[in-house]
């Protein structure tokens, strides 16, 4: 392994795992996806001279996750459901460790968002990436990043409000 690969790609392992974990909803699937993404990145790294190695690597991570989700969906012969899948995420030990119900409901609301909104929120709010980088990772123009973030935050606020009303009528 080269020092440059270590410095420019593996240094983003936490970011990669975070995105993979939010996309797949499972620890094991996220780990598998990150490992596969690292192998893919390593294979094509020599020819890569982009301005943002992080965005490049995260693009591979995202594609690997989507490939994995597609494969498991066809293996189960059922429609992948973001809502159900996202909801299952809050049974994990990580979430059990979440200190208060506020954090838990926020987590559940994000996990329950449709993928196209969930991913831009994770990339922006948790990874702090610029719109340009998010656009490159997700493969959409800047205007779409903008509208998806706006819509995603609208949805999130609405769901948090609904949950709050349910819990404290």
């Amino acid at each position: 392994m080269t020092a440059r690969f270590e410095r420019e790609v593996l240094t983003h392992l936490d970011a990669a795992y975070n995105l993979a974990r939010w996309l797949t909803g499972e620890n094991a699937a996220a780990e598998d996806a990150v490992q596969e993404a690292c192998l893919r990145a390593f294979r094509f790294f020599d020819g890569q001279r982009g301005e943002s190695p992080k965005a490049w690597f995260m693009t591979i991570v995202r594609n690997t996750c989507l490939d994995g989700l597609k494969a498991s969906r066809s293996a189960h012969h059922e429609e992948y459901d973001d809502e159900i899948h996202g909801a299952s995420a809050h049974d994990g030990p990580d979430v059990a460790a979440a200190r208060d119900s506020d954090a838990r409901s926020l987590h559940a609301c994000i996990a329950g968002l449709p993928r196209e909104y969930r991913e831009v929120i994770v990339l922006r709010e948790l990874e702090g990436l610029a719109y340009r980088e998010i656009g490159a990772i997700v493969g959409v123009p800047l205007g779409t990043v903008m509208s998806r973030l706006a819509r995603g935050r609208d949805l999130l606020q609405r769901r948090l409000l609904a949950q709050h009303r349910r819990l404290a009528p």
Binding site: M1, E6, L10, T11, L13, D14, A15, A16, Y17, N18, R21, W22, N27, A30, E31, V34, Q35, C38, L39, F42, R43, D94, A98, R99, D102, A103, L106, H107, I110, R124, E125, L126, E127, G128, A130, Y131, M146, S147, L149, A150, R153, L156, Q157, L160
Partner: protein, 251 residues
């Protein structure tokens, strides 16, 4: 700027993605429109909740090791680009036996005893990421930090109180150095964070204090009583040496 347009650009403005002229138009509209100002306040409240929530997942410590091994194995098995067929891989392995041996050696090699510099620096840097917790147990009291490690690692790292020398204990966390489990005890001196990594030495050899640096970080490492110690910080090397000597002196 009208309300419909504002709802389209508000998020980009809050995210610092718009030019100053548009920003001024937005601010002007917000001053005169209670409904849109409410929208902005809602976003601000959401941003606060997102920041406060522990939402980012950090890669589990074993994942890096797993990835490094997979890459090493992959590099050994498939040096040809674009995925070789079986016989190509076999031929390449024969031709590159020296490389294969070198990679095999690298995988099987125990943790380097004398040069942990780059590895501890990588772990130290990882711990400073905003998505990670600097410490899992936060306390300036060594009688809180030390017992926290009990049952989590198979050794009992000493946690020293160096507050009278200007080093404030911040806490501790489980970490890893290269392939092995380690604990990290975190101190602060002025604005610098110091991670003191402690892990079990492969051989119970005593090693004197050695100073090195990697990627701009200073590292002081030594061995005693079957444990390896490495202190890492962006403070200068004199500072880290003083810290290390105090650690040793308290033995």
């Amino acid at each position: 700027m009208n309300c419909a347009r504002l709802s389209q650009v508000l998020d980009a403005w809050l995210d610092g993605e718009l030019d100053a002229a548009t920003g001024a138009e937005i601010e002007q509209h917000l001053r005169g429109c209670a409904a849109c100002a409410g929208l902005r306040d809602g976003r601000a409240a959401l941003a606060d909740r997102l920041r406060a929530g522990t939402l980012a997942y950090a890669a589990p410590p074993h994942l890096r090791t797993r990835v490094e091994r997979a890459i090493a194995a992959n590099a050994a098995a498939a040096p040809a680009r674009g995925g070789p067929t079986w016989w190509q891989a076999a031929a390449a392995l024969g031709a590159a036996s020296a490389l294969g041996l070198a990679v095999g050696y690298w995988i099987g090699k125990p943790l380097p005893e004398s040069l942990p510099g780059e590895q501890v620096v990588a772990s130290h840097i990882a711990s400073l990421k905003p998505s990670r917790q600097l410490v899992e147990v936060a306390s300036t009291d060594r009688h809180v930090v030390k017992p926290w490690f009990q049952g989590k690692v198979d050794f009992a790292p000493a946690v020293r109180d160096l507050s009278s020398d200007g080093y404030t204990l911040v806490g501790g966390r489980l970490d890893h150095v290269a392939e092995g489990q380690a604990v990290a005890i975190v101190y602060r001196v002025r604005e610098h964070v110091i991670s003191l990594f402690v892990w079990r030495a492969a051989t119970p050899r005593e090693e004197p204090l050695a100073l090195s640096s990697a990627r701009g970080f200073s590292v002081a490492s030594w061995s005693e009583a079957g444990l390896r110690f490495a202190a890492v910080s962006d403070a200068d090397s004199r500072e880290i040496e003083r810290f290390a000597r105090l650690m040793q002196a308290q033995r």
